[in-house]
């Protein structure tokens, strides 16, 4: 018997190598890679992971220098119900030319899914201010990261004391 690398075995090996690479990348230590595949429908229990939340923040900031006082965040210090935490943030910018936030990320650092929302703004939209209500599982840090269109990044965080956590 000859062991020749014909076309069929070559493609077979390629498939095995690719799937191995894909699985090690996406299913690191048996867990789904949450910051990339979070958008998919999740129907299984996941425990909050602080390291993963920090990794998501690292991916967003991407080694850029943080600009101080860019984002203003208004959250109550003590939230009575974790299911409804009112959040208001505004970004200090003129909304003209290159001076507007392309994306604003809102993260709850101890939620099972740390990413809460991503808001996208467009040029000449008047004012970069949004208010909404989020869920927090327990007392944790709420973080807002503004990704400006000219490459600047602003980060603001605040510790929220939650009396009754959301059962999310």
């Amino acid at each position: 018997m000859k062991t020749v690398l014909n076309r069929r075995s070559f493609f077979g090996l390629l498939l095995v190598a690719c799937s191995k690479l894909y699985l090690t990348q996406t299913l690191a230590n048996g867990k789904p890679f949450r910051d990339r595949f979070q958008a998919y429908r999740q129907t299984f229990r996941i425990e909050p992971d602080k390291e993963e939340a920090e990794r998501i923040v690292k991916n967003i900031v991407n080694n850029r220098k943080l600009v101080p006082d860019l984002v203003k965040l208004e959250v109550p210090d003590i939230a009575e119900d974790g299911n409804v935490v009112p959040v208001t943030f505004s970004v200090r910018c003129s909304m003209k030319k290159n001076d507007f936030p392309r994306r604003v990320h809102v993260l709850g650092m101890e939620n099972p899914f740390p990413e809460i929302a991503i808001y996208e703004f467009f040029q000449g939209a008047g004012k970069a201010e949004v208010s909404f209500r989020c869920r927090l599982r327990k007392s944790s840090v709420l973080m807002v990261i503004a990704d400006m269109s000219d490459g600047r990044v602003g980060l603001e965080k605040k510790y929220v004391d939650v009396m009754l956590g959301a059962c999310s």
Binding site: R41, Q42, T43, I116, E120, G126, S131, C134, L136, S168
Partner: protein, 122 residues
């Protein structure tokens, strides 16, 4: 399951005024991690994952939501009034079921005339 959508803003404004838009959607926003106490079966995720706001067909604001947004989500944002036109807000479900609500905005200049979106000469 009621599916009420609300959209509220100041309807008659001056030019270059910043208008606040308040929206409210009635939705249970199931997170996908909650269990049935008796059977232990997890309720599948069902949330509104995308909200898009359009002003005369042009996108002015977009929100991508995950499971951390509260039930019956409230959302308020701002935009700058330039001309009269249609404000549309669209909510999109996990099943790609979209619902929308629209309203008409009237923009007046200094003399009190309406600025129409269509530029035409008589």
């Amino acid at each position: 399951m009621s599916e009420q959508r609300k959209l509220k803003f100041k309807e008659i404004v001056n030019k270059n005024e910043i208008v606040k838009v308040k929206t409210l959607a009635e939705h249970q926003m199931e997170t996908g991690v909650r269990r049935n106490e008796v059977t232990g079966v997890i309720y599948p995720r069902l949330i509104i994952y995308k909200v898009t706001a359009r002003y005369n067909g042009k996108i002015i604001f977009k929100a991508n939501w995950f499971s951390g947004v509260s039930a019956n989500p409230y959302l308020a944002f701002y935009f700058k009034a330039i001309e009269s036109g249609l404000i549309e807000v669209e909510w999109e479900d996990d099943y790609s079921k979209s619902t929308f609500k629209r309203g008409y905005l009237k923009v007046l200049d200094e003399e009190g005339n309406e600025i129409l979106p269509i530029k035409h000469s008589l």
